[in-house]
Every structure is written in C-alpha cells, then in structure tokens.
Symmetry: C2
Subunit: 278 residues, 2 copies
C-alpha cells in the first residue's frame, strides 16, 4: 500500500463542496469514485480544507492510500481521465504513510475576489462577489492588517460551529487591486489607439483581491472577514471597528458572510520534511 | 421611435450563438425577449458579429428601435434586469435611425486564447483551447503577421459559405503570451517565499493569445487561422506555409478549425460620426 499526496484545482460552482454529502455531488466523492475505479476497492480521500459549496480551489491538497503500483505522474493522468474538467489533479507525489493533509498543514492561504463596478463581467459571475458603489480600498487594507497575529477569532466563525479552540494565527492579511481579469488582458500595442468600441470604463470596474495566510481557519472565517471588510470599505464602519469585532468574540459583532463564489483555497504549506514527501 | 446602440459582453458557453435559431437559446433571442417585455411589442435586434455556439463576446455591438422613452442608462439597467448574468449590456447610447452595427462596422477585433500546458486549468476550460506539448510561439507570431494586408481569404472560410467576396483586409494580426489568468494573479509580495504548496510550473502552462483586427471576417475565419497557426507552432508546417495557404484560396489547404470556446469578439470600430451616435 502506498500513500499519495495530490494537489488539486477545481471550479466549485457545480458542487456541494469538498466534503461528501448525501444531497449532491462533492469533489471528494468524485475523486474517491475515480480511485475506486482505478484501485478496485473503496478508497478514502482526506482533504486539507473543507471548501463549501461554490468555493473554488487553486491548490487543495488531498491524500489517500492505494494498492495499485503507479508512478505519481501516471496516477495524476489516470485520475484526471476519470474526473470532470472542472476538477484537475495538478500534481501527485508519494507521501509518508502517516501523512494527513489537514492535520499536517502548517499554513493555508485563501484568496477572495471582489468585483467593484456597475456591471459585473459575465466572466466573473462565478468567481467574484459583485460589490458596486464606492469602496474605500485603503481603509479595507488597513483593517485587513489588523487581523494579523494570534487572536481568538470566535467572532469570525459560522454560528453553531463546534471546535476545541477558536484561536488562530494569521501571518498575512492583505488587500490588493488588479486588472488581471480575462476581459482586461493587455491589448497588443499595435491595437492601441484603434478607437475600438469597447467602453473600458463602463465595463471595467476593478477587481479587489483579499488574500490571507494563517495557521488554520474557522468555518466561514474568510467570508465573514470579507463581509466585515466590505462594511468598512462602504464607510459603514471605521477601520478600528475590526479590532472591536475581534475583541467581541461574538459572531453578531462582525459583518455579513460574503458569498461563496469569490473564495479560492490557494495553497497549503507543510513542514519541509512532509512537503518533500520524505 | 428611437434607435439605440448597445455594447454587450457574454459568456457563450450555454448558447447556440448570437443568432436566433430553432434548436436552442441564442443571445439575440434573449435580448429580443427582454426588449419585448420592456417595449410591449416585437423588437428586432441586429448584431455586429454572428458569433457561433460557445464563442464569447467582450464588446459585441447591437442595435434596435423601440418606442419607449428611456434614458440610455435606464435602458441598460432595464435590459440587464431581464437577462441571465451570462449576458450583460455594458453601455447604451442613442444612435442615428439608419445605424446598423454590421453594415456600419469599419473594423472588428477578435481574440483567441490557447492554453499550452500539461493540465488545463479548470478555470480555462470554457475560455481557451487546450494545446499541450511544445509550441514554437515565435514561429506562430511570424506566421500571424503574414496575414496582415488585403488578401483573398477563401482558404479561411467554412465550407459551403456563400458570400459575395472573400477579400478582406487584416490590419493587425499578433501572437502574445501572458500570465493574466485567474490562477496566475500576482501574489502579494508579503506571500513571496512562503513555500506554498502550489506547483506553479505543473499547473501553470502558458496562455497564448492571438488577436486580429480586420475590415471583416468570413465564417470560421479566425478559428481556421488559429488552427493553421497551431500547425506551424507544432512544427508540422514552416512559417512560409501560411502564405501558401492564402495563395491556395482553398479551405483544404489550411489547418483544422480551432474549437469555439477560445474565441472572443473583443470590439467593433465605427467611423467617428457613428461612434458618437451623431
């Protein structure tokens, strides 16, 4: 029996989330089904992050143990051949027998994408939260940085969650703006000044990206952080309010939960020995 | 009665194309339905480019005449309220009574996106053609430039097309590479060196973008050009072959038709007087 660690990207739009559920198709179930077909028996797949319905992954990490002898690269191709194109194994490597992608994780990074403009680009509708109207991005950035450090994040947890401790450490929490979207790709310089009938201002808007790296995250934590940052961006709360929300340790003190489609699990970091699979 | 010119973006994945058809839902039909609900009678919408099934638009131009008195901006919002989120009116303006978006067009620009890498990103599956394996991008760029000028493009037309002339002028034809994709967004500098478990090389691949501006385009012309460029990129044909294909004026001489999902109608240019709506 050999244990493998795989890195996955998926478009979560059409799934009930990472975790197997009775009421719909999950990413975990599809991978387990693919492995069952490949290995000839039931295989349990563990994931690093339990992404919710509609949440995406650029670098989810999963592991499983199979009997079949396959090189990591042949395994990657064999799983991909059995998965829908919305889910792709990006890489596979052998891991030590005890490797667990969640318990072994040292840090995780999530990204949340906001579209700030009158009209939401059709190409962003499943990958960003549409927040029209003026947003004070600098205030959002200042508030985001207040989350860095070791805190009790009880205010940023879905109600009715049940975890041993709500203390987590955030090592980086930043807001940035970018035009790196499909419809804002740089035009070749030869086309500059052609007076194309493309109203860049009207359609443009701006992509605002929140990225956070931490030791671990509570259920809905990133989405409640983003909902709170938007309250500040809209001027409904001052920057310092974020510190008051942390101190309150009460879900009712924070902003609303941002919708799932803007959220991406970017990557998971392991201690060097495990990352090497050694 | 007032004539309006609108600029549209749409994700063509779920539609049979721009043009109304008996066998499925078209973008034109959805806009006409929205306008009928708004204006209380049948409205015919004309489009600048007849995009095929699965082809997208960043700046399609359409026009129609309605009785209802609405400001252009109120009209834009009213149409959008009646359309699926995959189709958005980006802007609206009044146009002279005789304005026709196709006959009045001076230049159109199309973009075709190719994904060159082992694993196709799930986020590109509906917006790019997956071309794995080595590609000589410089040769593709040199061949692309051979298309510039006034030529008979009969070789680059879907068979069984029926047009008065197959002569067109291409004013710009360029290949570029970019990392402007959703999963390659620049990470905040604070995250550099965090050793995230995201295999940029394995998942990365490269986005290759072909962009072409011309006086007009034959049916499937851009997709046949791209299919031919990929033959050259794969080393199956030399750069000069592109000139031979043009000279042959025979569809059988060109490469295969690239799939629709990589193609975007970027924008349409009009003579200044019309662009102003004056």
């Amino acid at each position: 029996m050999r244990t493998f660690k795989i890195i996955l990207a998926y478009d979560g739009t059409d799934y009930v989330g990472w975790q197997r559920q009775a009421n719909g198709i999950s990413v975990q179930a599809l991978i387990e089904d693919a492995l069952r077909a490949l290995d000839g028996g039931d295989v349990t797949v563990a994931g690093a992050g339990r992404t919710d319905a509609g949440v995406h992954a650029l670098g989810q990490v999963a592991s499983f143990t199979i009997a079949r002898e396959l090189s990591p690269d042949a395994l990657r191709r064999a799983i991909n051949a059995r998965l829908p194109h919305a889910i792709r194994v990006l890489s596979a490597e052998e891991a030590p027998a005890g490797f667990h992608p969640r318990f072994g994780a040292r840090r995780k990074t999530y990204r949340y994408r906001l579209w700030n403009g009158d009209v939401l680009s059709p190409f962003e509708r499943a990958y960003a939260w549409h927040v029209p109207g003026p947003l004070d991005v600098e205030a959002m950035g200042a508030a985001a940085r207040l989350l860095e450090g070791r805190h009790d994040f009880a205010a940023f947890q879905a109600t009715a969650s049940d975890v041993a401790t709500t203390v987590r450490e955030i090592v980086a929490s930043n807001i940035s703006t970018t035009n790196d979207t499909l419809d804002a790709e740089e035009e070749p310089s030869s086309h500059k000044g052609l007076n194309l009938s493309v109203p860049r201002v009207a359609r443009g808007g701006e992509l605002i990206v929140y990225e956070v790296t931490g030791s671990g995250f509570l259920r809905h934590m990133v989405r409640i952080i983003v909902g709170s940052l938007v309250e500040i961006g809209r001027g409904r709360q001052p920057v310092e309010w974020m510190s008051a929300v942390i101190a309150a340790r009460d879900r009712a003190a924070a902003g609303p939960t941002a919708p799932p489609q803007g959220l991406f699990l970017v990557g998971v970091e392991y201690a060097a020995a495990l990352a090497d699979g050694s």
